[in-house]
């Protein structure tokens, strides 16, 4: 296995929610991202996956736990000391309409990281670099001086990607980069992300709620439920043979676009996500889990290794 690029150890983050209440957004999460791979992060809305992504690159500071970059802890660093790392981690946003400043031209948008890190000496050089980047993501150079609102969603997402790769990052966190796009455009963007990864040796953390997309693009996957990782492992193994009941229900709930494979009889998860403010005791999943026992209600399961995979369940594979 290649070198570990980014490692998180026991990250915790809570947000205040009214009087004396807290949202437990991320609890005790540890993960590793290796150089050159794509790690998928899957979960339903409100499970803390976006918060986790932002904790990793210190857009949000953790309450406890630490982040290591190539083995060096960076959690306590001052913003100035961290800036050399900051340059190496970029983010692609979900909403291509909200993530580009409407009052800046394409050139200024893509040039912003170049200027911040003084990559280019002169204005002409900057423009040249911007044109190169635009070409790389498939936005014609003639639109250099246009504003974001003049582009379609897919094109805006391309501009966002150009901005993310401008300062030559190592890791890009893709936060639901295609979920706001139409199906046909979604595939164009996924192809582009792949292409850039092979050309530039990028590492991705790919956050999504769409299992098909994650399955397509990732090497490894982490499944999150209510602020915790409940299962992780290589993508095909995990999809073929899930160990955590939640993973299995997630996979079952996928709507296959094939009328011959209707899942009318498949078992569905009951109820809704418990509130992240009043967490259930013990295993956080036990209120929805049909296999839950008294043990699950009282004791929180620890992460255990099974083969090349990790799962946090007292009874992994119980449903088989």
């Amino acid at each position: 296995m290649s070198e570990v690029l980014l490692e998180a150890r026991n990250l915790n983050r809570e947000f205040p929610a009214g009087r004396k209440k807290k949202i437990h957004a991320v609890s005790d999460v540890s993960l590793r991202i290796c150089e050159g791979e794509t790690l998928g992060l899957v979960g339903e809305s409100g499970c803390g996956k976006s918060t986790l992504g932002r904790l990793l690159i210190r857009l949000i500071e953790p309450d406890s736990g630490e982040v290591l970059v190539r083995g060096k802890p960076v959690t306590g660093l001052k913003e100035k000391e961290f800036s050399s790392y900051r340059r190496k981690f970029q983010l692609i946003f979900q909403d291509p309409y909200a993530s580009l400043n409407p009052r800046m031209t394409v050139r200024d948008l893509i040039a912003e990281p170049l200027k911040t890190y003084k990559v280019c000496g002169s204005k002409e050089e900057t423009t040249e670099r911007v044109l190169e980047l635009m070409k790389a993501v498939g936005v014609p150079g003639e639109f250099l001086h246009r504003y974001p609102h003049q582009f379609s969603g897919g094109q805006r997402q391309r501009i966002g990607i150009a901005r993310a790769i401008a300062a030559d990052p190592d890791l890009i966190i893709c936060d639901e980069p295609v979920s706001a796009l139409d199906v046909s455009v979604q595939n164009q963007i996924l192809n582009l992300l792949r292409e850039l990864q092979t050309q530039r040796g990028l590492t991705y953390l790919f956050i999504s709620h769409d299992l098909s997309v994650v399955r397509h693009i990732s090497n490894r996957v982490c499944i999150m439920f209510l602020g915790k990782i409940c299962e992780s492992g290589p993508v095909e193994e995990l999809f073929q043979d899930p160990l955590h009941p939640y993973t299995r229900f997630l996979i079952n709930a996928v709507l296959v676009p094939d009328p011959h494979r209707r899942s009318d009889s498949a078992e569905l998860l009951k109820g809704e996500l418990p509130s992240p403010v009043d967490l259930p005791s013990g295993c956080r999943f036990h209120t929805r889990c049909p296999y839950a026992t008294d043990l699950c209600k009282s004791k929180e399961p620890a992460m255990q290794q099974i083969g090349g995979r990790e799962v946090a369940c007292h009874y992994p594979g119980v449903f088989k």
Partner: protein
Amino acid sequence: MFRKKKKEKEQAQDIRLASQIDEEESFFSLMGRMARENKLAAASAILILVFILAAIFAPFLTRYSYSDMDLLHRLSPPSSGHLFGTDEGGRDILTRLLYGARISLLVGVVPTLLSMVIGALLGLASGYAGGKIDALIMRLADIMLAFPSMLLAMVIMYMLGDGLINVFLTLALVNWASVARIVRSETLQLKKKEYVEAARVIGVSKAVIIFRHILPNCLPTLIVLFTLNVPSAILTESSLSFLGLGIQPPDASWGQMVNAGRQYFYNAPWLSLVPSAAIMLIVMAFNFLGDGLRDVLDPHQKKQ
């Protein structure tokens, strides 16, 4: 290679298609659109311009002096010689109105600009920094906003004393708090926007984020606020002057002219009514213009 070329062509076409959806709207084309769609706003803009020009070129527009008395023609009603009549000193009211426009317009614009700058800076600081700075500024704003504005203006005038500059300062001090509040809430909203987060991801400095990403996106709100605050400044000043607390002679504002005419109101109502009407017109013009600007500039308050 061929495939790639084709792809680029397609994408170029993409954008041409997309760009039809939302044609480029520069500031001028926006104003043009407003003028076309909102005739009232356009007329108001012209009226404001006329007032400004009249104030600047007042000496060329009238053959009377604004201060020389003409005791033979005291309190004469509107006639062809004196379009709006004369006052108790026989001075032509139209002439005094033109000169008064200088003060009244200045009183609308200067303190408003001042309060906008103070309010915007404090609002930005408060919204972006949060925490103690925010609490301090906002409590201060709460206190300022708890006063009925006339009474606050009266107290500040009392504190500073008379004089044009002091009137400016007073009006600025009365108005900054509401500007700060609005800018703060706008900043809070913009701060959560993904493009501001994107700038933080890139690692740009706070100053750049505030002045390049947040402030320009507050501008539409600020422009609208400006056009709506100018008339309220004019109204406050005229009310102060009406009570005899604002501009003092020999400077003449419209509000002061109203006040001067009060004692002759039943014999010569035009003394007070003409400047009142002038105040009403300019205030109305600014209000119309502000509404028109809001319709085209503010995406939240779409045209209705």
